[in-house]
């Protein structure tokens, strides 16, 4: 079974600084997708960024980028120029690439990010 581990329950960053959230996963599949979701206090789950395992190039979305190390099964999220609105729970998630029952997302336990002035 696939597992996703986020070893940092809480992180703190100053406004305008850069922070990296860690995520490791375990799978025997060669093709899969990885995601970072943000959950602000409003509870809404918001997709931040996604990565296809077959792509070597790291995904980037504005201030958000990932460091995907397939061999190490590591998928960290870097937030640059942190803003107060980035404060939230961040969840790393895994999904196998094939269809059917594999469409479920397997989540890590989350990292609570605090942004300070």
């Amino acid at each position: 079974a696939q597992t996703v581990t986020q070893s940092q329950p809480e992180m703190s960053v100053q406004e305008a600084e850069t922070v990296t959230l860690s995520c490791t996963y375990d799978t025997s599949e060669s093709d899969y997708y990885l995601f970072w979701y943000k959950q602000p206090p409003s509870r809404q789950m918001i997709l931040v960024i996604r990565q296809e395992a077959y792509k070597q190039q790291n995904a980037t979305e504005n201030r958000f980028s990932v460091n995907f190390q397939k061999a190490a099964k590591s998928f960290s999220l870097k937030i640059s120029d942190s803003q107060l609105g980035d404060a939230a729970m961040y969840f790393c998630a895994y999904r196998a690439a094939y269809t059917g029952t594999a469409s479920k997302l397997t989540f890590g336990t989350g990292t609570r990010l605090q942004v300070t002035l």
């Binding site: 809404q44 789950m45 690439a97 269809t99 059917g100 997302l105 989540f107």
Partner: protein, 114 residues
Amino acid sequence: DTAVSQTPKYLVTQMGNDKSIKCEQNLGHDTMYWYKQDSKKFLKIMFSYNNKELIINETVPNRFSPKSPDKAHLNLHINSLELGDSAVYFCASSQGTGELNEQYFGPGTRLTVT
């Protein structure tokens, strides 16, 4: 113009009661999901339907029964509610089950069982 909506957003009820949570999506997606987020914020899949057919049924007590009357709706009925059922329940939808199909989440329903 809400994409995935859930009703109610908050639900407080007593042990032993039966309750339902409704989910509707207007994205034209054919796959819908129910996830449970416990008090420690851990999110886990419960069920998934594709074109009204159940395709994922994780280890969930049979007091939980999903019902999909059509592709746009996936309701969750819970019988004989227990204290441990207190959680936030999220509905989600996606187009298809394969490839890089983003799952869109509803706002969640916070269920409190007293």
